[in-house]
């Protein structure tokens, strides 16, 4: 393939491409390959897979549209971008479902073969938008992707029906030409991925090449575009999704602690990929257990922790509901346990494939009795690695269940990740009990399971196996120290206070809340947690570029909060908390610190757009948005 000699190549500093088609069209794969070749050529990038809950909704309908948005740039970016520069629409439904995202003057690349009566009707088009003039404000490229793909595959002996399935690779080839992506990584990947099905590999290769050549030779496009590599800190990089990073963090964290990893989990969207990833890594000594239900998943994990493993359970909102009772038990038993909640739209089944942040108050308060536990949240897909290690550190050091609040956007979104120096990661000391810690009435050494470390208030962890340390624990209230069952009121109150103080004390063991306040005199503080980090940080950047001032503080630790939180909140006249919920963090901040933290709420199954944050800030600062 020659490079586009007779086309002009325009330089762009960034571009946002959205691939959209039927659920069966392979748009997630197409987007993922485009992302990888961009990452390999050194762009910064951020992705947003946006797919329906149905595996294969009726073909050609709006319900079945699956999309993948990728933002690539020659500079540091944080989000998958607000509005695409180019949309690839494989059928009329894909066009209709996404056209509202497209600004005037942007590029639409449509598979013209699919714009026939039946598909137009299924998408609800009375007239063909390609011919009725409604797309006049866009640069529309009509490409007969299906028929060209079938034509080039015919020579390879592939039946037209099978060849049709390679049309996503045609689209990928065309877009790769349009944005001057390297072709070799994709060709290599096709051959590896389909090595057991040579005919499929051949069809996909031919389709990809045909797409690329079409761009080159069809005289349809005036120019193509180039997005030069971004400047990254030196180091080794990989492209990573939140769920992969989280699974890897669990592996790395248990290695740092020298503990076997046990995962008890029940399949649930969008958390299942963590179960999948850990299940294929048995060489790390991981035991993965697909339980009969969510309750058994956490129960088995807790049983494993009792036995001296690091028990982990992964789930999403509805599963967290079911785990509540066992979380209460884990709080009473004071055993290490990590619970990962990849949040999705709720309540109930809600929006299984769409992101939301509405489980914060559930994680904080969703158990009967006074049942505090630490809650932490990753801020980017790659941060899931570090947050998993941190969850293990806190769980082990403080003998407590820890909830990690990820979300659907972080879980499936990808970004470049500079690999950490593994040798620099701090080891985690399990500190198992090794000897009796008490003397009984007869003067014999004995073991009391609830004698606490005076610093951390953590109790000894004594897995079965050591003679002299036999003990019984349970969900009934325990006598302070001995751990024997106690119904005594004053003791209960003391235990409630101890459990509270233990968790609250973790605040002294976490970093202070950092404030990004460039000039130090901003009046408005933006507060983010979890995945809102990206849009808020990008919004604040834009505001500053316009000469206005805003500060930004991001919470990775939701419970307990950093010790300087009250002081930071008190420093600003205005506080704005954008959240993908009805204002859960803002409610906590108001309750805990008596500050006027205003909520900015969005619950549409997708992350904030940077423009939305920018407008909200502008409005709060009294300017026009």
């Amino acid at each position: 393939m020659a490079s586009g000699t007779h086309h002009a190549t325009e330089q762009l500093d960034q571009v946002i491409v959205r691939f959209a088609g039927d659920s069966g069209d392979g748009m997630q794969l197409t987007g993922d390959r485009f992302t990888t070749s961009s990452a390999l050529m050194g762009n910064d990038m951020s992705t947003f897979p946006d797919f329906p809950a149905e595996i294969r909704a009726p073909a050609g309908t709006l319900n079945g549209v699956s999309a993948f948005q990728v933002h690539i740039s020659d500079h540091d970016i944080l989000t998958p971008g607000d509005s695409p520069n180019a949309l690839v629409a494989m059928n009329p439904a894909a066009l209709k479902a996404n056209i509202d995202l497209m600004a005037k003057g942007t590029i639409l690349i449509v598979n013209s073969d699919s714009f026939e009566e039946r598909n137009l009707a299924k998408a609800g088009y009375a007239e063909n938008p390609l011919t009725d003039g409604t797309l006049g404000a866009y640069t529309v490229y009509e490409v007969p992707m299906t028929s060209i793909t079938q034509e080039v595959c015919k020579e390879a002996g592939v039946k037209p029906r099978d060849a049709e399935r390679s049309k996503n690779f045609f689209a990928l080839g065309l877009v790769s030409w349009l944005y001057t992506r390297p072709v070799d990584p994709t060709l290599k990947w096709i051959n590896e991925r389909f090595s057991s099905k040579p005919q499929v590999a051949e069809a996909n290769t031919r389709a990809f090449r045909a797409g690329f050549d079409f761009g080159e030779t069809a005289e349809l496009f005036e120019s193509n575009y180039e997005v030069r590599p971004a400047t990254f800190e030196p180091g080794e990089y990989v492209q990573v999704t939140g769920n992969s990073a989280l699974a890897w963090g669990l592996i790395a964290g248990t290695r740092l602690a020298g503990l076997p990893l046990f995962l008890g989990s029940y399949p649930i969207t969008p958390a299942s990929d963590i179960l999948h990833e850990l299940s294929r890594r048995k060489e790390f000594g991981i035991r993965t257990f697909q339980a009969e239900d969510e309750i058994a998943g956490i129960g088995a994990a807790l049983g494993a922790s009792f036995g001296g493993s690091l028990g982990v359970t992964t789930t999403s909102g509805p599963g967290l509901d079911l785990k509540s009772e066992t979380l209460g038990l884990a709080i009473n038993l004071e055993l290490p346990l990590v619970v990962v909640d990849v949040q999705r739209g709720g309540p109930s089944t809600g929006l299984p494939t769409k992101t939301e942040q509405a489980d914060l108050l559930h994680a904080m308060y969703g158990r009967h009795g006074e049942a505090p536990l630490p809650i932490i949240a990753p801020q980017t897909p790659s941060d899931c690695f570090a947050i998993a290690i941190e969850a293990i550190r806190i769980a082990v050091k403080y003998r407590t269940p820890v909830i990690v609040l990820s979300d659907g956007y972080l879980a499936n979104g990808a970004e470049p990740w500079r690999l950490p120096d593994l040798d620099a990661l701090e080891t985690i000391e399990p500190g198992f009990a090794s000897e009796p810690n008490h003397v009984d009435e007869e003067g014999n050494p004995s073991f009391w399971p609830y004698i606490r470390d005076p610093q951390t208030l953590a109790r000894p962890w004594a897995p079965p196996g050591l003679p002299g340390l036999e003990h019984r624990i349970g969900g009934l209230e325990k006598s302070d120290g001995s751990g024997n069952v106690s119904y005594e009121g004053v003791n209960h109150e003391r235990m409630v206070h101890l459990r509270r103080d233990k968790i609250a004390g973790i605040a002294a063991d976490i970093p202070l809340l950092e404030v990004n306040d460039e000039t130090g005199d901003a009046q408005l503080l933006l507060v983010s947690w979890g995945s809102t980090y990206a849009a808020v940080a990008a919004g604040v950047k834009r505001i500053r570029a316009r000469g206005m001032k805003a500060a930004h503080a991001h919470f990775r630790y939701l419970n307990p909060m950093p010790t300087n939180t009250g002081e930071v909140m008190g420093r600003y006249a205005q506080i704005l908390v954008p959240e993908i919920n009805l204002g859960q963090l803002s409610r906590i901040l108001r309750a805990e610190f008596l500050v006027d933290a205003k909520s900015m709420s969005k619950m549409q199954g997708n992350p904030f757009r940077v423009g939305e944050i920018e407008s909200a800030i502008t409005e709060m600062l009294g300017g026009k948005s």
């Binding site: 050194g42 990989v238 257990f289």
Partner: protein, 341 residues
């Protein structure tokens, strides 16, 4: 964990210092005594023994054993035990449960632990009543039972615990009762020997809320005519000398009770607990319609089947032999990586 000889122990060594708090006269006392007295004979260590329970009267059991133990939450003990037993194959894990705990709120966990064949000994105390919540009917209560929650009589068809366990693919299923320490100990010993999930139904009297539920079959005077001992490799016979009855297979495959004097010993069914097909064991579990007809006790089924935790460990060993011990640095580079100078 230790390699020293197993110390000689007595019941006292296996009893914790906690006061036993069941109602006076409760059948649980005799089960506890049977277990505490059996443990020194099993050749196991206290520190390698764990008793787990859920909620209910039976669930207090771990507090009274001087071993490691956990009194967990309602119905979940088999799930917790699955995590413990699969990660710690060196431990002896016992689950103590009741008919409400394991057949009602925890039914799902019980059947899955059984089908997976996790190495746990599940002792299910069946008193056909909710005791700790003061007398509501349970999933094993007979139809039309009048209790506080069913003043007009219960409507639910009860579970037959042995049938249920057999249907759940259990590899070891047995029944015993709280009036016969020797039989309990022999049954528990067999459960302990079994490499996999062992399910034992213990008929247990709740003298406060359901007194005499099993009297018609376990009472001292009637026992020999009403309990049918199952002995592997032997014809199934019961009853006092001279009036022996036995179990025979009818032409249609069903089982019936016959008088040995009339049919002769040749036609009796020979009990085969190792039979791969659980059909006959199931038929035996259905012989009595309730605890008022001659009821089989002993081991219904004891077949060898791969144990879950051992298989899980084996997969790890195989993965490590094939790929070497996992390397985190290599894991992070398992996709494509690139270097920025």
């Amino acid at each position: 964990m230790t390699t020293t000889a197993i110390p000689v122990t007595t019941r006292k060594d296996w009893s914790s210092d906690q006061e036993v708090r069941w109602c006076p006269g409760c059948g649980d006392y005799s089960i506890l005594a049977a277990v505490q007295m059996l443990m020194p004979e099993l050749g196991v260590r206290r520190e390698s023994t764990v008793f787990l329970s859920g909620i209910g009267c039976a669930a207090r059991f771990p507090y009274y054993m001087n071993t490691y133990g956990m009194h967990s939450i309602h119905g979940r003990a088999p799930a917790i035990a699955t995590g413990l037993a699969t990660t710690r194959p060196d431990l002896d894990v016992w689950v103590i449960t009741g008919d409400g705990d394991s057949l009602s709120i925890g039914g799902n966990h019980l059947i899955h632990a059984l089908r997976r064949n996790v190495r746990v000994n599940i002792l299910m105390f069946n008193n056909q009543i909710y005791g700790l919540t003061k007398g509501q009917y349970s999933p094993t209560s007979e139809v039309a039972k009048v209790t506080k929650s069913t003043p007009f009589g219960s409507l639910d068809t009860p579970f037959n615990p042995v049938s249920l366990a057999l249907g759940a693919e259990a590899s070891f299923v047995a029944r015993t009762h709280d009036m016969d320490r020797a039989h309990m100990q022999e049954t528990f010993r067999r459960a302990h020997e079994h490499n996999g999930a062992a399910f034992v139904e213990v008929l247990q009297n709740c003298n406060v809320f359901n007194d005499g539920a099993f009297e018609k079959i376990t009472g001292k005077e009637v026992r020999s005519n009403m309990l049918i001992p199952l002995v592997h490799g032997h014809p199934i016979v019961f009853g006092v000398e001279g009036e022996e009855r036995g179990v025979a297979q009818r032409a249609d495959g069903g089982l019936e009770i016959v008088t040995v004097g009339e049919t002769g010993p040749a036609g009796l069914l020979v009990h085969d607990e190792k039979r791969d097909d659980p059909g006959l064991a199931f038929a035996l579990s259905r012989l009595a319609r309730g605890p008022y007809e001659p009821t089989p006790i002993g081991v219904f089924r004891a077949v060898e089947r791969p144990e879950y935790g051992a298989q899980m460990s084996e997969q790890i060993v195989q993965a490590q032999e094939k790929r070497g011990l996992g390397d985190v640095a290599a894991l992070l580079r398992s996709g494509s990586s690139w270097t920025v100078e």
